[in-house]
């Protein structure tokens, strides 16, 4: 069967078109062929100038990620026939949210800078610091990592740094200063490690602007990660840990705290109170003219009229029980 591959081309050399453009190649394809096989065949038989990264051909090296029909995937792990049957097209482009260098090859330096920002190596508490009592003794102080300890960071260790998640990330699409899902998944790999000695410091840095609270929860990273790292889950783990460790002085954490209080108080989201608590007094004042405009259409939330759900006592019981059982669990682990 012959199908048409539309491939995004770009060459910064002089005399080449300044803007990226599509070039079509018709290729004989067969069952079992991957998109990477197809790219190799095109480069081999039709156009030796076509550039793309690849190495292992088995979803381990992470170098062959490209955009296939609009979504970031490993070209070695995407089969041509089912993809074509489903999407009715075969459009290959470089990863989104990355700058193309030539054809399908993108500049990965910004990717690595983001990873470097989270100091991607373990910084265990030094024995001396522990002896001096500068740092509180942790439950497990780095002596041993149990299977259960490992489970908490297991998924975050599967990352092959292919860039699919950053390519799909909607926050990165709009805000290029955002740290991105790949680095955040790596950050949980370290914060969640029982041997790590600087978790709190890490969480404080991650809570700064363009950090972990800027994730928009679009779930693209988790949907398209080829190794099931679930970066969103790791971001949620970071945020929960920050809430528990009391790293709360930022709009993201305040927002979550306000929500937790609102549900405990009335069983529902109290929008007026949430806005006020997240923004603080001064920024909330700035919202008044806008609020009045919404009020003309009856859209200004009114906290006082907010009805409680029936049996709110059950919700409060659940809060207490969750806390009590967690404490019990923590103590069991210690003892």
């Amino acid at each position: 069967m012959k199908i048409k591959f539309k491939i995004k081309r770009y060459n910064p050399a002089e005399g080449e078109p300044a803007e990226p453009y599509f070039q079509a190649y018709t290729l004989d394809v067969e069952e079992g062929m991957s998109v990477l096989d197809a790219l190799l065949k095109i480069a081999d038989e039709q156009d030796t100038t076509l550039s793309f990264r690849r190495s292992c051909r088995s979803s381990i090296c992470g170098s062959c990620a490209v955009n296939i029909n609009g979504f970031a995937r490993l070209s070695c792990a995407t089969q041509v026939m089912p993809e074509y049957a489903k999407m009715g097209d075969m459009v290959i482009e470089p990863l989104s949210n990355h700058v193309p260098l030539k054809d399908l090859i993108v500049d990965f330096n910004p990717f690595w800078s983001r990873i470097e920002k989270v100091a991607p190596y373990l910084t265990p508490t030094s024995r001396r610091a522990r002896r001096r009592g500068d740092v509180p003794a942790r439950e497990n102080d780095g002596a041993r990592v149990t299977a259960r300890d490992e489970e908490a960071i297991d998924k975050s260790q599967r990352c092959i740094m292919c860039g699919c998640c950053n390519s799909e990330c909607n926050a990165l699409e709009i805000d290029d200063r955002y740290i991105g899902p790949a680095a955040l998944a790596k950050a949980w790999r370290l914060v969640g490690d029982v041997r790590e000695g600087n978790s709190r410091k890490r969480l404080e840095r991650l809570s700064e602007e363009h950090g972990m609270w800027n994730c928009v929860r679009c779930v693209h990273c988790t949907q398209y990660c080829p190794k099931s790292v679930s970066p969103l889950k790791q971001i949620e783990s970071l945020r929960s840990r920050a809430m528990k460790e009391g790293v709360l002085d930022n709009p993201g954490a305040k927002h979550v705290e306000a929500m937790a209080d609102s549900v405990k108080r009335v069983g529902r989201l109290d929008e007026a109170a949430m806005t006020f608590r997240t923004l603080g007094f001064l920024r909330s004042l700035g919202m008044i003219p806008f609020g009045l405009k919404m009020e003309r259409h009856g859209k200004m939330p009114k906290p006082l009229l907010f009805p409680q759900i029936e049996n709110i006592a059950e919700v409060r019981d659940i809060y207490e029980e969750a806390e009590r059982l967690e404490k019990e669990d923590r103590e069991r682990k210690k003892g």
Partner: protein, 290 residues
């Protein structure tokens, strides 16, 4: 056709800010013969924020919602994509792990509630495109909306994560387009239809949120849409309530009317713009209503 009955979970946004979504859903469901049973005890799903706060607590609070539906013997229908995603993700985790379900039920024990893992959670869009059926919907249309070119704005949480949601395909979604076309309107394809509206960071980073909203609106407008339709009230808040902020961020007039899904359906069923509460929108859709 068998009678369709659901435990109705409008979600917090539609109790208050977007209550027109709730009110019009009730009218439209009655017109279509879909019975919605109130859940007066139901608490907030947490909108993802409680997942950030404390995952076991968030699971238990969701299980409390499911237990209420289970006691009614009904599946849940929501009209909020974020509720849909949060509840289905919790339900996936609870159903996949008997150990987790047991732990969660231990948190619930003091309340006397117990979740058996037998509830499905759907949203209005799925009910229309699935249980009710596109063919049946078509038969109910008395006023085909053939002048409407609607941009189908799925947003994020009606499609992803697909291993928890499972109804539509995030790479090639069809349900919202199918409903729009069943109503006699034209569906306008655009790349941003499955992307984020910006809602989750409205209060954390307004600048990024407003730019994101503007990007989606301009994307659909550029493809020739004369309105947007969304199954999610949070998307509606950003696209409609906050459209003026998006216009400011983009330094462009956008003036795009945004419909809740139920409103567009209601108009095609012959309900008036008054019954569809269109005056509650900040960007008036009246100018494109015939």
């Amino acid at each position: 056709m068998a009678l369709l009955r659901y435990a109705y979970y409008p979600g917090c946004a539609s109790h208050e800010i977007t209550k027109e979504a709730n009110e019009t859903t009730i009218v439209v469901a009655a017109r279509l013969g879909i019975e919605l049973v109130d859940m007066p005890k139901a608490n907030c799903c947490g909108a993802g924020l409680l997942t950030d706060y404390d995952y076991p607590l968030s699971l238990a609070l969701n299980a409390r919602i499911f237990a209420e539906a289970e006691s009614l013997g009904l599946d849940i229908m929501t009209i909020c994509s974020t509720c849909l995603m949060v509840m289905n993700t919790a339900n996936r985790d609870l159903r996949n792990s008997p150990e987790l379900l047991e732990k969660t039920n231990a948190i619930l024990a003091r309340t006397g509630l117990r979740y058996g893992g037998n509830v499905k959670i759907k949203q209005l869009l799925w009910v229309l495109a699935g249980d009710y059926g596109i063919g049946n919907l078509k038969k109910q249309v008395v006023k085909p909306l053939n002048w409407i070119k609607a941009a189908p704005f799925y947003g994020c949480h009606s499609l992803r994560p697909s291993d928890a949601l499972g109804f539509d395909d995030p790479m090639k979604p069809w349900s919202l387009e199918a409903v729009i076309e069943a109503l006699g309107a034209e569906s306008v394809d655009f790349k941003g239809k499955t992307k984020c509206c910006g809602f989750q960071i409205d209060l954390v980073d307004e600048e990024t949120a407003a730019k994101m909203t503007a990007t989606r609106l301009l994307d659909g407008k550029g493809k020739g849409a004369n309105c947007f339709v969304t199954p999610c009230p949070f998307c509606h808040i950003n696209l409609d309530n906050y459209q003026s902020l998006a216009e400011k961020a983009a330094s462009k007039k956008i003036s795009m009317p945004i419909f809740h899904l139920a409103q567009l359906v209601g108009l095609a069923l012959g309900l008036s713009s008054g019954e569809m509460k269109l005056s509650r929108h900040l960007v008036s859709p009246e100018k494109i209503i015939k």
